[in-house]
Symmetry: D2
Subunit: 142 residues, 4 copies
């Protein structure tokens, strides 16, 4: 039940293994069973009308789950998403960051499950919910 | 943001519209945005080995969401499930009731979304999570 | 890419490991990457109004996926459902069996994925679709 | 059961309402109940190691479903995704386009459901499957 990395170490590792996401994401808070991750919304994340696109919301949910899992299992970049489900409930606010609040529901030897609520910063009501299931590669020697 | 029925009225209405479920379910707690529903686990709900079956877990999650929504919109039996997702995370305990803790994430004019965590009574760690989306029929005169 | 059991052997094994389902399900067709399974709809599977209940639809989809996977990996009753998603699209016909047409999309060492379309016999248009993900236990000696 | 736009009209309309996607997607084939859509994979769609990113796969599945639905209901840009589920099954090939084969499972007055299989061009075995549910806005006068 112990974090293997703190928020700063985690961000450093994410930027090392996912250089493309540099500048897109930040860790707002990290605990043993939850993480709050922020999508710094920019022009490239938007749909016409100014709302955040579906793929950007998927990306935030997936990144929050990945970061949550890595913070617990340590530097194992090869954890991969196997299943996801999302429900889109409200229109994201224009001009606001998107906040993903992620809970770790299961961390098994082979599979981990997280659920994530997405909010527009400063707005009531979740814009979306997601579940992400990750497969964790066996450690050498297992 | 108001309940249209309290827990006793809700159970009475459920037993009227779903006579088959009589004796299977009970409302443990009801608030404006959450409900706790219990599956009184019996022989018919079990798989070999004594664990609760997948269809029984689905049934509890679906009934909790239905009850949550009816408690808010009133006697509209025709609300129907349109989508569901579930993740099965731990083996339910043998000989324990299953408790479904349901949150109402969205209650729109046409669609409602609930998520549900399922626990075996007296056991740590959720056995499953579910999301249920319901379609709400338009009121006459709409 | 070879079946380990034919349809009759598969039904015999299912009835041995799931005695409760005896009389509920039948294998209509079995090939290397698909199975057609039938729910012999009875009073206990119905909702008021005569339509097949959600848990019964879930049960058919889950059983079809389980049977598909066992037909390929052989007698390994411990394969367990890890994730499912379902969409409910039309009302099942009253008084008709429900037919589940299941495709095996992936059969890996640790995870298998099936999707399933459910039809009421003799009716056009799927009543539901489902995806079932199974975790396959490592073989002894792995 | 009639298309309201052919493939060229559909691409023209998509580029008008989603200018950001210009150059990313193409319609390979369009029929009354299915569409094949291509993601022209570029540097921005990739993860380290050269595989297509999760958000890019989500984007292709979502765009294929949106295009399928618009081809049937006509120019109604306001159709919105309400639910999605995805399973990620194989690693997409490096340096190959991603092909989304989409089936329209339901087109109701208020909701439409599509499922999508994603393949890397020239590679056997689906890399992912997805279901997308869309809410269709009521027509004026409804």
């Amino acid at each position: 039940m112990r974090l293997q990395m703190n928020a700063a170490e985690l961000m450093g590792y994410l930027e090392e293994v996912f250089p493309q996401v540099h500048g897109d994401f930040a860790v707002d808070a990290l605990e043993a069973e939850q993480i709050v991750m922020r999508l710094k919304v920019q022009e490239k994340h938007l749909r016409p009308g100014g709302t955040v696109s579906g793929p950007s919301m998927f990306g935030l949910a997936d990144c929050a789950a990945y970061a949550m899992i890595l913070s617990r299992i340590g530097r194992q970049a090869l954890a991969v998403t196997t299943s996801s489900s999302m429900d889109f409930m409200r229109k994201p606010a224009a001009g606001a960051d998107l906040i993903g609040s992620c809970r770790l529901l299961k961390l098994g030897r082979a599979l981990a499950v997280c659920d994530i609520l997405l909010h527009s910063e400063g707005q009531d009501g979740a814009v979306a919910r997601a579940t992400m299931t990750y497969s964790i590669p066996p450690k050498r020697g297992d």
